[in-house]
């Protein structure tokens, strides 16, 4: 099974979701991210989904779940790089993205995380 790498930069965990990930692989990423937050005490998560061209309800739910879980463990989640079609699909699904912060690209997401993590 393909693994999704998680990179730690200071207090932030960075991961990139690729197109065509299997549900099982995304679930594994969720678990590994949670474990990483627990072990490293990371305070922010940056998820880049700029290469993801379509989302289904499963992936949409999981993004929201990852953010909600991270929130409970004291970390902010910023999802970056949503493509227009992905944004429209998520809105049509009517998903509550309450715990999720979004940014246009990784650069803006990083700036947002820095603001969120500022003392």
């Amino acid at each position: 099974m393909a693994r999704v790498p998680i990179v730690r930069v200071g207090p932030v965990l960075i991961s990139t979701l690729l197109s065509g990930l299997l549900d099982q692989e995304v679930l594994q990423l969720q678990e590994e991210l949670m474990d990483s937050i627990e072990q490293s005490g990371a305070r922010g998560v940056l998820l880049d989904i700029s290469t993801v061209e379509t989302v289904d309800t499963f992936l949409g739910r999981l993004l929201a779940d990852i953010a909600a879980g991270a929130r409970l463990m004291g970390a902010h989640t910023v999802v970056v790089g949503l493509q227009p079609a992905v944004a429209v699909t998520l809105v049509e699904m009517g998903l509550e993205f309450k715990a999720v912060h979004v940014a246009l690209n990784a650069e803006k997401g990083w700036a947002l995380l820095r603001r969120l993590l500022a003392p």
Partner: protein, 163 residues
């Protein structure tokens, strides 16, 4: 069939008018660095709202804009369906990382929204595009000041504050 009975000339005219209306679709204007504005004129049906949202999202992506101002001054009636379309556009733009403001909420529109019990609490609303721009500037950390000794001379404009 009514369509078959219609004289060919009339059908052509209608087709031409339809094309003109399509061309009058909502343009996405870049009004400032990182600020996009959408002046929406006329009623908003599902198809139009979809095209508008697509154009907006593409523009956010290509210009890297941080703020979007939706101006509904030119929308005659904001009913439940229109409000739903607007909220969907707002949500989609937010997912692209943009902050969205809904301006042009005139008294009539505000009253309709209240009567229809439409919840717009998730959106920043203002009365005019000018107020929206003011807020956009504030969000971007910009300030508009009048240079000393310039600008219109009539007293009404002195010390008028921002816009």
């Amino acid at each position: 069939m009514a369509e078959q009975a219609m004289p060919a000339q009339r059908a052509v005219t209608i087709e031409e008018q339809r094309r003109t209306i399509d061309e009058l679709e909502t343009p996405v204007l870049q009004v400032w660095d990182s600020v996009l504005a959408l002046p929406i004129v006329g009623s908003l049906d599902t198809a139009r709202a979809q095209r508008m949202t697509e154009a907006l999202l593409e523009a956010i992506s290509s210009t890297g804009s941080d703020v979007v101002i939706l101006d509904i001054t030119g929308v005659p009636v904001v009913d439940t369906a229109t409000a739903k379309h607007l909220l969907e556009t707002v949500s989609a733009a937010k997912l692209m990382g943009a902050e969205v403001m809904l301006v042009g909420i005139v008294t009539r529109t505000a009253l309709t929204l209240v009567h229809l019990d439409i919840d717009l609490s998730s959106v920043i609303t203002r009365t005019t595009m000018a107020k929206g721009m003011e807020l956009a500037f504030a969000r971007l950390g910009l300030e508009v000041v009048r240079r000393a000794g310039s600008g219109p001379a009539h007293p009404a404009s002195d010390g008028g504050g921002p816009l």
